[in-house]
Symmetry: C2
Amino acid sequence: MTPLFSAITGPTVVVDRRKASANIAAMRATADAANVRLRPHFKTHQSVTIGGWFGDPAETAIAVSSVGMAQRFAKAGWHDILLAIPLNPGALYDYRQLANQVRLGLTLEHEDGLATIAALQAPVDLYIELDAGYRRTGLSVSQAARIDALLHQAQALPNVRQLGLLLHAGNSYNSRGDDAIAAVHDQSLNALASLLSQLRFDRSQLRVSVGDTPTCSRMTSFRGADEIRPGNYVFYDLMQQRIGACDWSQIALALACPVIARYPERGEVVVHGGAVHFSKDYVLIDQQPIYGQVMQTSSDGWSEPLAGAQLIGLSQEHGKIRMPAAQIAQLQLGDVLMIVPAHSCLVMDASQGRCDILT
Amino acid sequence: MTPLFSAITGPTVVVDRRKASANIAAMRATADAANVRLRPHFKTHQSVTIGGWFGDPAETAIAVSSVGMAQRFAKAGWHDILLAIPLNPGALYDYRQLANQVRLGLTLEHEDGLATIAALQAPVDLYIELDAGYRRTGLSVSQAARIDALLHQAQALPNVRQLGLLLHAGNSYNSRGDDAIAAVHDQSLNALASLLSQLRFDRSQLRVSVGDTPTCSRMTSFRGADEIRPGNYVFYDLMQQRIGACDWSQIALALACPVIARYPERGEVVVHGGAVHFSKDYVLIDQQPIYGQVMQTSSDGWSEPLAGAQLIGLSQEHGKIRMPAAQIAQLQLGDVLMIVPAHSCLVMDASQGRCDILT
């Protein structure tokens, strides 16, 4: 075990700042080259400290996905915050408070939400959410007339400062490799272009925001968009590596988990580190759910995957790892394994943004 | 929407105290009738408030699964706390502090852990964990000679106050119905009896602790055991209902989630309530992962399942519900749906023990 982790007594999220900073810089360069604004989605880390790595809060427009996150980042100095989840009329009071503190963006996916905007008593940016095939939330891009009418209705509301269109091609997460990512990207942007061509609403009055980590990591053009909105890229994870959005060396987050049991006879090790730390998100490899990849430790963190060592089972606090017997033989009780999780956003949420930072 | 939930502005865990209290009383009666001690596992709720419903903290022996939980309940007045997860030598300092505060129980699954016990400088109860078929942690019950030797070694340590055997038949979670639960129960207790018959170690010097919610909910005899250790039964959940450990009326926890989008044309509703609130644990129904069951709301909480309304998808903050169009037509944006989750323990962990309590 490297001395770096000798003080770890329980499951601990570890973030490699150099890798995260390189990821932040790379996405910045992608946005600049594509001539789009970058609005990082802060739901991935939910950390004021890590948020500061993206630049001066006062000059960094961000996306979040809950009122609680918006409140936290508003309090910490961010001024331009988009709530990228359909608005909930029950949260009117919270929206009103936020809109008085920061430049707030809200997301609308139905005419019924306009009453909440009208009741705000404060200006907001308003994004109409579109669905170009992901089928989670948003108005189908095929409903051009309805979207056009909604934009005109929204424009008439005194509280609406800036109108926009918001798109999340979450179906990119089903892709494997650049060709598949490009196919989702093209399908999504073509649908957007088709919609825009049918709108009577003045395009120059609209801000168009798109983005998800796979397409933003691998594509270079975002035609039709003014802004990209990826989040996960700051850390990446096993899922993004499988998609082909990143390689192993870019993954900036792992969980340090103490070994609490070794079973060489069945090729398994158990760590303290369970569903409450990893979440139960997984990737399927050879038809088996894999919750994380065990990494080789190094003097400054972790390096390559440890061949054949994967997190194959989770209960509340226990994690079961499949591992070659030769590796198990080298492990002592209490040794720390570094495990790249399937989904880093859920890991950071579970840790409430708490992590050890390697610099 | 019932007025009860009109103040809810985001995903909120709701606990029905009457149902939870009835569950607590029923398990108490089961333990009394079977003449075993009941040591409830507090990992399910992690709440000092709810912990108080089990009786006077000073007189309630409990199990937990992390040092953090042990510290919280020790501070709040519980005196007899078993850490029911294999010990981690790296946590020696924490164990020593706890052992000086409360009657601490630790769990051992390998000879290598004895050095940590020897270094404690304070007395503990020590449980040797057995594996009777679940294959997560513990010494296989087939290793009678090794277990016998380990018990004698442990007994020789001055810090060991009480020795025990600890068994968790987590494989009961794969059962459906009483016959299947009984089969796991019998297999597990028969294996325990066989082991006990082979030990030279004095049985009267051992405390034998078993238990998991399915067997403790449905079985009436725990032969060979001195103590049962279920946890989930205080709330139950969709998984336990599917196993047959409880019926719908016993489930004491649901998530109140605001409706943020309705798609009658595809038979779906989206709520604010995602993987960070529900966890991604699921039950398979007709080969499909189901993360929760939508319930009918009532004047005092929720009642029966709403037919055909199930949580079928989760992203970080969004929950996708399949629902008959006739039901969707009655929903307004911001209405609150009550959803029984697949796994209540992970929901309470995600909420950090925060919940609204219906009394």
